[in-house]
Amino acid sequence: MNRVFNRRRILGLMALAMANLAISYWMGQQAYGWLPPQASSESILVDKLFSFMTAVGTFIFIGVTGTLLYSMFFQRAAKYDESDGPPIEGNVTLEVVWTAVPILLIIWIGTVSFNTYDQMSLLEAIAPPMLETVETVPGDLQTAVSGDAAEDYPPIEVHSRQWSWEFRYPEANVSSTELHLPINQRAHFKLTSDDVLHGFYVPAFRVKQDIVPGREIDFSFTPIRIGRYRLRDSEYSGTYFAANQTNVVVESESDYKDWLATAAAATPITASNIAAEDFARATESGISLGWATVEPAPAPTVNYTHSEEDSYE
């Protein structure tokens, strides 16, 4: 025992573990930069969870691959050495430790994930007024962001089709191909599909929900950052799936109310629609084998539409 666990060795191992911890913490901080802008309350919660898991994952990855690489470089057999290594068949203490540590780790990650999901309340009718980021490491600062506010906006109807998005604001008598939302207010949706499965996905909000034909799914989140973001179809929906995207505009409450009023007064026009236009073109560029496709639904007729060229973050 003394030979294996002498003081120098323990100190060396501890130094390596500390270095690994430092690198892992740094990677966890880097992780925020790999994600789109944080435009919803939910995104702050999710990013913190991802940063935490990145740090834990980095620690394990460096620990294991570092050990393997050390073996690969320094524990090679000499060219004519045909002898065997030490016949060690196992070590009960070690095996108990490396079973117990992962169990504790997943209880930790699982608890953090559960609390994060619970705070997000994506499918719940009412979210807490403030969403709190969950505690990950001892002493970690917690951030609170707005959740369900006092002002109660009626749910927005989301109609998904092959291949277009249409948003209806029934109380305001507005329909649009661009989603507009007021900042810092819980946005409520009723998600429906006219044909196949679609997915409502806004990367900047970190929220996603499949839309199932024949069902009406209640969905909600809170935008917290003014700007224009991409909304993408995330559940494969057939030929023009990749082109089935639009934008979300988050604006101040007064801008939002102005927009609703202007849109309601506008005459409905037919929106531009990539799928319908591509389909109408008899031949497409590229290698076409003439494989049949489902005919796109007609482009929606709405009283507000947007341009494909609009920039987004």
Binding site: T67, M72, G85, G90, I106, L197, G199, K208, E235, A243
Partner: protein, 574 residues
């Protein structure tokens, strides 16, 4: 055994290389309805590898399309057909048959049996593979092209059938998948029976090699899970062809029900694929580190734990689907739990390698590379099991990157490790080590170059299955495409190595790696029916560094007192 019986046996009986009475003893036997498990094993492996090349070719056309943001190289319908058939071919025509090939070849040899329990069923199961392979390939040429609904074939997209024909790509796809299911069930019955009933005397469960344990665990999943997928495929086929409405929402069906049927099998299927590769790791590391498998009993039992847990995690594919919150949370915890037995295995392999006398042969390099990519995939896998994070990256390239690190990283590299390790046994010849190492370098770099960039793409929000994408994703896609082409090139040294070594390689001898195991005690290639005398096992496997013999007799029929040169008995130098 009495010493008299040893004496009366003629000691210079030449080993019989005749594959089968009356059957041709040349390459033609690989094109015949052979019932020899070794011939069937090689038939499986070679057939699967040809489909691997086809699936890889489809992937390279996809990477060509994705090297620019616009849908410009191929039509959108063609792209959708490509990714559907890429996934289908890689799973049903490559990984399953390839692993069945390894299991067929190795299990009887490793447990000391002369063949599988049902040799004819075995051959029939194999010959279904080219049948449904041809059906899949033919579907490219029917009007409307092959299935374009993704390898999940989620309704209602898979029910849309724009051609209106009864014979369409989707119907042929479902037929092929159903046949594949039948073939796999036949294979599973055979393998499970063989392992249960035909182990040599003395081979208790805890004297069985880890590879056989993992194959057993994997084939149990096939028996439990495949009926669900096959039922789902048949119901979908009925919806598509005769107008039932199991999954059609406009007529009261439920498309989410199909997702449950599909993932109830198709998630455990990942473990069917990866478990035997865990077995390969457990076989390869001890040989080239010259140490026993660390914690053998815990490692093999954790395979069964994985089997059990794999059956209760499927909803993690549906965290963003039409599932209630309680279901998402429940399956989040079960999914995380599966990392415990998996982690035990990873740590045990590291401990096996640690302090050994390593030889970095091609097999060892591929096993180590496969272990590292698997570790990375395992870490992103735990991230994905966390429902709130999964909701962001679900159906994005993050998931595509994750599972390609498992399938192309761990499984394909594990397959290569197995081929380099057992090639001398299968052919009696040595491969060229230099070409093997070149193959490893190209594969390892290629895999990381194509699949690592998929993670940032997914985090940024690029959905999977898109023929075109927004310009902000272009940078990482160019790198991934270059990696994809490199990965395509990496197969060339392998093919060259295998073809030339099989024909002109140096004689390998019975046991070139000085490995311990029943398959290394018989000639290379092993004679028909493998063992002259059924071995009697007296020691657990992986006795490196100890002097205990593995068997009490010589399976080649000679006396144990005069072992043949080159046969390792318990690692004792001969």
């Amino acid at each position: 055994m009495s010493s008299a019986s040893v004496e009366v046996r003629p000691s210079e009986t030449p080993p019989s290389f005749q594959p089968e009475p009356g059957a041709p003893d040349n390459w033609r036997r690989f094109f015949s309805f052979s019932t020899d498990h070794k011939v069937i094993g090689i038939q499986y492996i070679v057939t699967a590898f040809i489909f691997f090349l086809l699936g890889g070719l489809l992937a390279m056309v996809m990477r060509g399309e994705l090297i620019t943001p616009d849908a410009d190289l191929v039509d959108r319908t063609v792209y959708n057909g490509l990714f559907t058939m890429h996934g289908t071919i890689m799973l049903f025509m490559w990984t399953f048959p390839m692993l069945n090939g390894l299991a067929n070849y190795l299990v009887p040899l490793q447990i000391g049996a002369r063949d599988m329990a049902f040799p004819r069923l075995n051959a029939a199961a194999f010959w279904l593979v080219p049948v449904f392979g041809v059906i899949l390939v033919v579907s490219f040429f029917v009007p409307g092209g092959p299935s374009q609904s993704g390898w999940w074939a989620y309704p209602p997209v898979s029910l849309q059938n724009p051609t209106g024909n009864l014979v369409n790509g989707q119907a042929l796809w479902l037929l092929a998948v159903a046949l594949s299911g039948i073939s796999s069930i036949m294979g599973a019955v055979n393998i499970v029976t063989t392992i249960f009933r035909m182990r040599a005397p003395g081979m208790g469960w805890f004297k069985m090699p880890a590879f056989c344990w993992t194959v057993f665990s994997a084939q149990m999943i096939q028996l439990i899970g495949l009926p669900a997928l096959t039922a789902g495929a048949v119901m979908l086929l009925l919806d598509l062809t005769v107008g039932t409405s199991f999954f059609d929402p406009t007529r009261g069906g439920d498309p989410i029900l199909y997702q449950h049927f599909f993932w109830f099998y198709s998630h455990p299927a990942v473990y069917v694929i990866v478990l035997p590769i865990f077995g390969v790791f457990s076989e390869v590391f001890p040989v080239y580190a010259r140490k026993p498998l660390f914690g053998y009993k815990v490692v093999v039992v954790s395979s069964l734990l994985i089997t059990g847990l794999s059956l209760v995690v499927w909803v993690h594919h549906m965290f963003a689907s039409g599932t209630p919150s309680w279901m998402r949370m429940l399956f989040m915890f079960t999914t995380m739990a599966i990392s415990i037995p998996t982690g035990i295995k990873v740590f045990a392999w590291v401990a096996t390698v640690w302090g050994g006398k390593l030889r970095l042969t091609s097999a060892m390099l591929f096993a180590l590379g496969g272990l590292m990519t698997f570790l990375f995939a395992g870490i992103t896998g735990i991230m994905l099991s966390s429902a709130p994070f999964d909701i962001h990256v679900n159906n994005t390239y993050f998931v595509v990157g994750h599972f390609h690190y498992v399938i192309n990283g761990a499984v394909v590299m594990g397959f290569y490790a197995a081929i380099y390790h057992w090639f001398p046994k299968m052919t009696g010849r040595m491969y060229y080590e230099g070409l093997g190492k070149l193959h490893f370098a190209l594969t390892f770099i290629g895999i990381n170059l194509i699949f690592l960039p998929m993670h940032p793409l997914g985090l940024m929000g690029m959905p999977r299955r898109v023929a075109s994408y927004d310009p902000e994703f272009a940078f990482w896609n160019v790198i991934a495409s270059l990696g994809g082409f490199l990965l395509g090139v990496s197969t060339l040294p392998f093919i060259l190595n295998m073809l030339s070594s099989w024909n002109f390689g140096k004689d390998a001898g019975d046991n070139p790696w000085r490995a311990i195991g029943l398959e290394w005690m018989v000639p290379s290639p092993p004679p028909h029916e493998n063992f002259e005398e059924i071995p009697v096992i007296v020691s657990p496997p992986y006795g490196y560094g100890s002097d205990e013999p593995l068997t009490s007799n010589n399976p080649n029929g000679e006396s144990i007192d005069e072992p043949l040169p080159g046969i390792a008995i318990g690692g004792a130098a001969v």
